[in-house]
Symmetry: C2
Subunit: 492 residues, 2 copies
């Protein structure tokens, strides 16, 4: 707490890195690129998990668990998928350590315990799951399969950042199998919408929905649907993807089913996931120079009550009121903490809960006690008000709802203010470097143009929205005819 | 469903293996020793998780997440722990695959992407966690730390069996840090009791509580507390352990704290875990020759309703009653499925839900409809009864409670009938080979005797209970003086 958080305007990236650590969300571990998710951060992730899990189950999905390891021969079966992930695979080659004969206090890999076939630590589970589905699917009666898995995955990233890009991360991955193309596509879109609802309504982060360009597609997918969010520094963040896999994995693993009419066809597939990366989006969308700002839906502590007192007697009087309020709030399903620790001063506590993003802070001093009021402070606006004790529960209930909405509105306004239509490449570059955000521009539809733009500006196509203007135009880069505007941005 | 389940009396081991697969709980995967936990099995595990998680949180524990990988140098820091797990470690040595130059459709490990330091896939997380705690603990004010983690771990077992012993398994592992020995011991015992309560009250499996002998202790622990259950074939199963780690890990990782009186001391520790192995205990404690028997607390479907009908009209009448019952049950928080699929016959459904252990089956036929009754069948006793529709909800509520208790009582009776006191080694061997179960015998306290007994009988000391008889005796093997009886058994 001694250290002061860097301001966003000074160094956004540093602000983020410091905030994650200072707010006790996560930290780097002894393992390169892998993070430790601390209890406070994990409690937020658990709230995301619980809500998503409920939404998956409400739409007919079931959870299951598949192996952490993928034998190399299975991993390489779907060529594009394998190619896409090969460069970042952690590989298990041995299954035993032995005492180092040169130093008995050390261990070494036992060369005699070399695996016949190497095992890839799953970077994603299509391969292992589709090799399993092969045995589950014979007939149309076995379809659809709607399965989700909560798991850890490993992608050996060279440059890592807490939550945003880590070698190991936690996620959920859905893997569904269908009898028809239409059904698989419908599932892919359903999940895209489910993700958008979750991120917008629950996390208060506005997103743009659409599909990816070919070069940004998931390796092995026919089409990737995405939700894209915008961070406060004007960079986009891919918040969740759902992939229409066509029959690619069914063909790679020879998964066919007997149709209702007696035919034999390859199965259609989707896969989809969101990860602990969403924690990064959460932090960067709402937080400020004082620290974390949490939407009430995700706050492990929604209300903190802090007594301001001198001596035991004053504390006793305040505690009586505080505990009454606390119990009323708990009865309303609101999570509340009464922090009467006497080895920390109120000022320290104020700063700490501000840093940790607790949505509402209630302070009660001796004068408040006399006047039968409390001081209520909102984390989102930093506004303070005096609230009669008799109205405090009702007021808090309403205020929590307001905060949730206000955070969304604020982020939405920022996002909408940062979608800029441009018609020349000079404007494109100027907007990107001066204003940031999404740049809406005509694109000729070629990967070549996309690549050239990326090389010059670091911006990529984040999203091709589904409701483009019908008007045709000229590509912002190649000046060739272009059917639709797409959204470019620099991205996390 | 075509295949019939092997009888327990014919081949218990085969019965178990078949049942796990036929009841759709789990299956072997393409990865040696790793299982796929299927949706039905995973739904049971989720219920265990939810209850345990609630119990952990109610006792002040928080969840967090630590890396999957442990750098070799950290892994070897606590010598006994390292030695105990070295022989079964999956080791990551490389972080990239590349296209095989000899066959472009294949991948190979890229020899240029060799890790400087090998990474062990965690077989347990003491090492990585204590290397982290080192940075979290400076003063007594930072203690206690009460953290739990839900995770996958890998132990390269040579002979594996679904749920009971798999190379990868799911578990929770608690890791706590304390200022005093007493507090750490208290925590260890608290969790031992929590596990006992969970397994007995929630899973309906009676357990014996106690400590392990030195040779059965967790590698790196000073004392291991355990709960031991007894399976129907007379073999014991270790259902959960909590370890008092003393200062072993604090010393290995140099974790010291400033005491309240200004000293500097090593931190005291506990660790504890239960795993998907509990699924094995669940199956083997309650199930019968017809299939799985699930305690209502753990049943993903507690009540199934099956219509018996000819033609749409009959079905419509039955469905009306069935849906009314279903909604009443749901309102009571009971999970219920109305299976009106028309491509399966009632007999098939009866068998299937019996195989899957659904606690209560309600069948409704046209005559039942006339008489305003339903047929209720209990999975535990296989008894059927006719219940007036007006009483069915109340009756089901009571019956579910009864089934939960009955399963526990039945298992308790079996367990108690299978604790046999012996005073000679001949009796010891005879009981083990003829009756099975726990053999209560005097033991001289030496590892040598324990080893000799194990070699001759395959029985190990499962548990040294905390309330031994005060009477001294003669060791059943060495005939040397022995302070107390201990429980031997063959074990999973």
């Amino acid at each position: 707490m001694g250290k002061k958080l860097t301001k966003r305007s000074e160094d956004y990236s540093k602000w983020y890195n410091e905030l994650v650590v200072m707010a006790d969300l996560a930290e780097n571990s002894a393992v390169r690129g892998c993070m430790v998710i601390k209890p406070y951060g994990y409690a937020i992730w658990e709230k995301m998990q619980a809500e998503l899990d409920k939404m998956f189950k409400a739409t007919g999905h079931q959870n299951a668990y598949f192996p952490l390891f993928v034998p190399k021969s299975l991993f390489e079966a779907e060529e594009k998928n394998a190619e896409g992930f090969a460069k970042e695979c952690a590989v298990v080659t041995h299954y035993r350590l032995k005492t180092d004969p040169e130093d008995n206090s050390k261990l070494m890999v036992d060369p005699e315990a070399k695996l016949e076939e190497e095992l890839v630590v799953r970077p994603t589970s299509e391969a292992i799951i589709w090799s399993t589905y092969k045995n589950w699917i014979q007939s149309y009666r076995d379809l659809p399969i709607l399965i989700n898995q909560w798991a850890n995955v490993v992608r050996w990233e060279m440059r890592t950042r807490l939550f945003l890009r880590t070698a190991e991360f936690l996620w959920q991955e859905g893997h569904t199998a269908h009898a028809t193309k239409e059904e698989a596509l419908e599932e892919t879109k359903l999940i895209n919408q489910l993700y958008a609802d979750f991120v917008q309504n629950f996390m208060a982060i506005p997103v743009i929905q659409g599909v990816k360009s070919e070069s940004e597609r998931f390796a092995g997918a026919v089409e990737t649907y995405c939700i894209e969010a915008l961070m406060q520094d004007g960079k986009a963040l891919q918040a969740g993807t759902s992939h229409f896999l066509g029959q690619n994995f069914a063909k790679a693993f020879d998964v066919k089913f007997a149709t209702q009419t007696g035919g034999l066809e390859h199965v259609w597939a989707s896969s989809w996931g969101v990860s602990t990366r969403l924690m990064g989006a959460l932090i960067m969308t709402h937080s400020d120079d004082n620290g974390l700002v949490l939407p009430p839906n995700l706050a492990p502590i929604q209300v903190v009550i802090i007594p301001i007192y001198k001596g035991e007697e004053q504390l006793a009087g305040i505690s009586e009121v505080a505990n009454k309020i606390k119990n009323e709030l708990i009865a309303e399903g609101i999570s509340v903490k009464y922090d009467d620790r006497d080895n920390f001063k109120p000022g320290y506590k104020f700063n700490d809960y501000e840093l940790k993003g607790v949505p509402i802070r209630i302070a009660i001093g001796p004068r408040d006690l006399e006047n039968k009021v409390v001081e209520m402070a909102r984390r989102d606006t930093l506004n303070k008000s005096s609230v009669p004790v008799s109205e405090v529960t009702e007021n808090i209930k309403n205020t929590l709802d307001e905060i949730q909405l206000n955070l969304y509105s604020k982020a939405l306004k920022f996002r909408d203010d940062h979608i800029t239509e441009v018609n020349t490449f000079d404007d494109f570059k100027a907007v990107l470097s001066e204003k940031g955000g999404f740049v809406s521009a005509y694109w000729d539809g070629t990967s070549k143009t996309e690549e050239a733009i990326k090389k010059q500006t670091k911006a990529t196509i984040r999203c091709i929205t589904e409701d483009p203007s019908t008007e045709e135009g000229k590509c912002v880069y190649s000046e060739k005819p272009a059917k639709t505007r797409v959204l470019f941005a620099k991205a996390y």
